[in-house]
Symmetry: C3
Subunit: 663 residues, 3 copies
């Protein structure tokens, strides 16, 4: 378990560097990431390379026993390159060029940019091959940030046509699978298909979905290009990429397949402001939402089923969300422990020192711009000292997470309020409120190891997946399927009757669906109690399933809403509404109980527990202290039974052993 | 009185068709609309026609005694045509092309597209000339949907210049009538005038209004092109077009002049969400707002003063509004009866089966995609059985509705809250709350047949119209003129003193006007009582008019606000404010009483009555039941004196005979 | 002290002119502004000049003893010129042309337009050289209105590169001073630098700031071009320009340097609707906010330290804000007196008659379109009669106002709620609530004459300014520095520790800053009392300063927030929060007391007093009457001790002599 930092020596005078790296070492940091965005410094003019500054920085770091994570600098092609080969620029949907002046202005499908990428990555990799201090590489930086996964340039148009040609036998097959008879949208050949540009009305959902898949695949292919170069030159290096939180347009699982290590960039006080549909509480503005962060931890841990890194950990106040409240005292340490509890092996703070130039001047570092320690420095040092080695997390439950379902529900949300992330988040929160570790994995993943599987909106479904889920249940699994599952086939066409190929397993079909605004009463029963739901309702026709809940409002009053059914050794439940918190607690709690998963009664807001390698983490993101009741023979490895606001405690044992109460 | 359905056989396998048409026939349907959007199927490549599928579908329908309404497929030019002749595409104001991928991407002024239209319409008409099952044609589909009436391409620029040249003697006359001295906007010749593109500040209102007129006229001309082809080939066909609800950019009266039958597309639960300024109630989300639908019924009935059709009637949940609540039980039947009560002769449900491909997958049909009956099927069948033949509606009151006034007030609303539809809707609602039938007709229409005329915002006025209104009043008419009447001349120039040429008739002029935000108190008296008004206030100078109401708030306190005057055999009232509901009830009620129009005291929200051919319809759009007190010798033709929520009752007699009370 | 009016004879038939000018003269008006926007009339075709109408109008005005202010007509190049030389048009950031059809469509850097400007201004000036009735010129009209200061055309791109070349020794210096190492933003030469176009993420703040400076300088240069032509031809004329209220993109101080007289256009009921962050009260909708207007008066008086003119004074209801309430009775007179109290020497109402054509038909004049007096006419006549000659205002306090700080804080506000105008307005209001006259001057201005200086957000700071402020304090000045001072160097780069070069003077540095949304409690103490603040908090490290206030909420609880320090003969205070009203009153009150500035206890909302030349103006913008307690030997020159709602009183004496209380 390791703490590290992101460092930009090129922003500081050479004479400062020794002091910087000395202070890093004395804080207990073990890794230093460098080099993303450095192309302009490495190659100020075409062919004029200047690596010496980076050589020196690596040497200084290595000398102090720390290791370096180098980055390929491709996120920021310099101005001379843009001027020489302007065709590398991305284009917006309406043809507007995305010009030089910020970052990520290149197109993933640009042949010119792939050439340039090959050139700079090869040169840089050769320079540092066999360098004893370079442990691995981060490829590029935050692929797709600022809406750059989807580009509409001519290179992309051609690549899209080729991509389609590879996936369909012929244009007739495409017309058939998309259903282009609708509104006379037939294509005569692949050449006739453009990226989805400006149109009077909305686009064909099958065309859009394929463009979104193609765009994500373009990033995968571009990433693979870099990975292959680096592996060819030195295959001792680990390769990683720093993904983003709740990022919508890129399939992180696909990119991860070409990596050795998955890392991501965690900014808790920003995400509560810009990635949720409701206003954050004051405590969340000071420390973030543990379930919002936790789901990302679990997605990126799940991607390779391997411990992840936080490649950029928020170090204090930050520049990009609407507001920049100071984090609570201790929050920077709490985040590190929370990451480890979720299966992280390293937490790298971003950045070492606040930058005095350019777009991120309002982003804190562990040190102030003048060099003195900033608020996060003591937190980071404390975390570095407290952390100890741990086995990976062993999660009893899987949450099925799918980027294709995210894209397809975004294309036709059928409600301004339906959001894939928020809907999945409802189930994820119910699991975490019970202190249960969750693997957030793609539906293709083997499910044998899980006592329970939660599938919130398995929107696109094919027979193969349905068969695998059936097999999982028959073999004794507990499966909870959420609303909007099996609505569409993989080409985004409506099935005959929802949930499509899952209907036999579920034992029910959807008779009607409706989406409802807030002013409409939305009540439903479950297991004899009445609850609120929101946004989405499916009236079910139960075949051989047991009706567990019925509507208690509207024209669907008394229609079945929640059913379950025993199948072989297991059981499947289908929840036809988007449950509010209490209903989610009840439905999920029942599934966990049936699965025999040890859990805690629903925890208070902001208080979470998590088990890893024989230890239980109590992470308190709330502004109230809690008491932890643990067995008398348990050992407090960090803190004690009184866990203050924004503090953490770690005790030996397992989740079933502890009880947390608010003081 | 007829029920029908819209059908897309091309979306389904051939082997399903018999079952579909059998089920239509057994539900009592009499008309089937087909073929709009079918160009890609009819002509998959240039000159390669494939009509056989349509021949067969028509035959199957005809065999079962039903008739076909065919559509010209011009709303969706196929991709091969767009690729061959890209100049047919529309352009946005900033030059962005409206590309292929949805519908309505063609320009009405494109010479190329008019050629192609001639070609396909001729071919199709010749194919079905003398076909005994084809009763008539729908020309194109929903002209102007998705903001496509106004285009800014070069074809439109040239056509606009020609259109201006035809309407003005010379460029000097245009400069004079527009008033281009303002801000040095003089034009040297017609060639110098462009469509109104992107400018630093707002456009000249006279130029904008002429562009809006021109754009509407372009659709009229395009529609006439199709009508002439069809009439030439077989003049037994009726010709219609399916207009939209509360549609702002096209003058439906002008288009209707080339048609035999006016039809429109009614989606009650969608319109309450996206075409009103206030939030819908729960009952409105389940069944719509009868006055919002009713005004459209009355506009389209008024267009040719002839029974209208609902060409697309909402069949259940729909895809395009923000939310998609399930309609109330019975709502689909209620809408059919409501349309008939307003003078409709046919109600065609859209669509037969839910579609499994493309943009409208979330739009219900009478049958589910799998083929089983959906919620609307029983309602449609019931309506088909209940309906009986009726004479046209005979309305005692006219509401003057004018697209030019809508455009001109949109150009200079002088308040974010002034909306022509909502302002007219206030008066329309007051009339309908009294159960009075209303013809919504253009100001040019003869008014002799009406006991009362309501003219909400007769913004653009010329002497001829003023003279006709004066004659109407002198001959005994009751005229109610609303605020913002006579502000401008027909070229959108301010008159010397509002209400311009109406001043003598009204007996007052406007001293001041003001527009007021919600936080300002807005009170006014009328006939001794005090009322609320909203948004707009005119301080009047009464000449020989009687002051009926004065302001009771603000710097205009005690200024006259409402006046009336006897003129010859009749009377004219002028209401200088936008009245809130109670004031509208009072002002309108007085006019009806003076006109001797039989009416009901203001009805409860959502409950409406309407008289047609010796029957009174009681349509209950509310979620509370009502009781109807009718004469003992009256016969209940449908239902009885207890009309449940979302139900309908029809009793013999006239509006003055019944009393409706909430139970 | 003079009243005048803006007149457009070209909008009216020649036979009306005598009556118009007779009525002006009889109302006591002394100046008539004419000719802006008249190019199309003056030169209907290239080289065909028609000045006769203007000759006549001037003659008629002069004959009645009034003087003319002529305008160059360059704000509206006519269509023939645009068609001939389309390269004069501005371009938006995304390349969209700003087309003909409104006004201000020309680019300030267009070589073609500068030629045309030279031609028309020369011609016009020569025509009226030595005309005895032409007193001076307004150059162009409202430079930059409708977002036109910043243009992105090729002429601007080239001019920007030249402008940069003139300001930096070489491209290396630019890279160094901007800090382009960040995100590889280095430039190889000046030619590589474009105007800031569309980019995936935000722009480099140093590049943006320089573009904003350049754009403002482009207007300065264009204005100078006109000024030089006019001065060359007749140097008896005064030259002015009509600036706008709270205008963000143009440095008015820089433009003013080439003028003899500064004037501006005041529309109180519009500005409260569209230039403030909170909703206006009903009284403000009727008469405006005296502090919002007052700050603009003081900026434009401060620009040349000379009495200003209101070149366009709102005459009644106006067309451009969201709503158009009628002003209160007397408001048009109140505004004239308020302007004079703030140091204005002339108030010109806009316009003489309501216009019946074009974009401003909903804008009142002193006369109605038909010619009869409108509401403002009596007010204007009354003001003309009441006004008397006065010496300039002598303000004891300076408020430092800086356009560069406005631009730089707009580039990185670091909060959606931080607004330079509103933040400065908080301090300005506190000063005006005490009845103190304020010069709003740029930081470069000599401060010797001021007893106190308030510097709200002195964001960009260099050593020279810091030294001048230090000297000011050492010599006995009272300096109040607000939050966000000294954050950046003049190139928009973060300093080592805020407040940068001011740290020694202030005796404290900023340890942390944070921006906070409304839901977070924000409390702070000052001088033993607890107060609210908003949006912005800086935790201070006090060196030798005295801690005067500490935070009382959040993680910064007990951190210093407000400090002060004695330095030489004076004192400096630093307020690290954006104070709410009561805290601003307390902090500012203390500074005034220490400075020995006579002041009134905080006045009621909307009630303001101001001293000029031995008289005190009591201007009541509230809807409640007030009583004024003045010394028995004081003389009421206008009104008396009872000042009604929306009324004014003027009494001899000074601010320290009177007491105002609400009745
Ligand atoms: Zn691309
Ligand atoms: Zn066009
Ligand atoms: Zn320009």
């Amino acid at each position: 378990m390791t703490i590290g930092v992101c460092y930009f020596p090129e922003h500081w005078p050479r004479e400062r560097w020794e002091r910087d790296v000395d202070q890093m070492a004395s804080a207990g940091l073990e890794y230093v990431r460098m080099g993303e965005f450095s192309w302009g410094r490495i190659e100020p003019e075409r062919g004029q390379f200047g690596f010496e500054w980076l050589d020196e920085a690596i040497e200084l770091i290595g000398d102090r026993g720390m290791e370096v994570v180098l980055c390929t600098p491709t996120a920021t092609p310099p101005k001379w390159l843009v001027d020489e080969r302007p065709e590398i620029l991305q284009e917006d949907l309406d043809g507007t060029m995305r010009e030089f002046g910020s970052r990520r202005h290149y197109c993933f499908n640009s042949a010119a940019y792939r050439e340039e990428t090959d050139r700079i990555v090869t040169r840089m990799a050769e320079r540092y091959a066999d360098n004893p201090h370079v442990a691995g590489w981060q490829l590029d930086n935050e692929y797709g940030c600022h809406g750059t996964v989807r580009c509409y340039c001519d290179d992309c148009a051609n690549a899209f046509r080729e991509w389609l040609g590879d996936r369909y036998d012929d244009i007739g097959a495409l017309n058939e699978k998309w259903g282009t008879t609708f509104w006379s949208q037939q294509y005569g050949d692949f050449e006739a298909i453009d990226p989805p540009g400006p149109t009077p009305d909305e686009h064909h959902p099958s065309r859009l979905l394929e463009y979104y898949r193609f765009a994500s695949d373009s990033v995968v292919e571009y990433n693979r290009l870099q990975a292959e170069i680096l592996r060819d030159i030195d295959d001792d290096w680990f390769l990683t990429h720093n993904f983003m939180g709740h990022f919508p347009t890129l399939d992180a699982y696909d990119v991860a397949d070409d990596l050795d290590l998955v890392s991501w960039d965690s900014y808790p006080t920003g995400f509560v402001q810009d990635r949720r549909s409701d206003d954050p509480t004051v405590a969340e503005l000071r420390a973030g939402d543990p379930d919002q962060i936790g789901l990302d931890h679990d997605i990126y841990r799940g991607a390779l089923d391997r411990p992840f890194w936080v490649m950029e950990q928020q170090p204090g106040d930050i520049n990009w969300p609407p507001h920049a409240p100071q984090p609570a005292d201790g929050a920077m340490r709490l985040w590190a422990h929370h990451a480890v509890a979720h299966g992280g092996d390293a937490v790298m703070y971003f950045r070492w020192r606040r930058c005095q130039e350019g777009q991120e001047q309002y982003h804190a570092g562990l040190r102030k711009q003048g060099g003195s320690p900033d608020r996060g420095y003591a937190d980071a040092s404390a975390a570095a000292e407290e952390l100890f080695d741990l086995d990976p997390v062993d999660a009893p439950v899987a949450l099925l997470h799918s980027y294709e379902n995210l894209w397809a529900t975004n294309i036709q949300p059928h409600s301004p309020d339906f959001d894939y992330w928020n809907h999945s988040g409802t189930y994820y929160r119910a699991l975490r409120r019970r202190g249960v570790q969750v693997d957030a994995v793609p539906p293709e993943r083997s499910l044998d190891q899980y006592a329970a599987v939660v599938a919130p909106a398995l929107y696109l479904l094919d027979d193969a997946l349905a068969a695998r889920l059936e097999e999982y249940v028959e073999s004794g699994g507990q499966l909870l399927v959420g609303a909007r599952s099996g609505e569409k086939d993989p080409h985004n066409k409506l099935v005959d009757a929802q949930p499509g190929p899952l209907a036999d397993l579920v034992g029910a079909t959807v008779d009607q669906h409706e989406s409802l605004p807030e002013q409409v009463p939305t009540r439903v029963t479950f297991d004899g109690e009445e609850y609120d739901f929101r946004t989405w309702a499916e009236w079910l026709d139960a075949d051989d399933a047991t009706i567990r809940g019925r509507y208690a409002s509207g024209p669907g009053d008394q229609q079945p809403a929640i059913v379950d059914a025993e199948r072989g050794e297991g059981r499947v439940a289908y929840c036809g509404v988007w449950p509010e918190r209490e209903l989610a607690d009840a439905v999920v709690g029942e599934v966990l109980d049936r699965a025999g998963v040890a859990s805690h009664p629903p925890l208070p807001d902001g208080v979470r527990i998590a088990e890893r390698d024989g230890h239980v983490w109590v992470t308190n993101f709330s502004d109230s202290p809690v008491s932890v009741d643990a067995p008398t023979d348990a050992t407090w490895v960090i803190g004690d039974a009184n866990v203050e606001a924004f503090d953490v405690g770690v005790v030996t044992g397992s989740v079933g052993d502890v009880t947390v109460t608010q003081r």
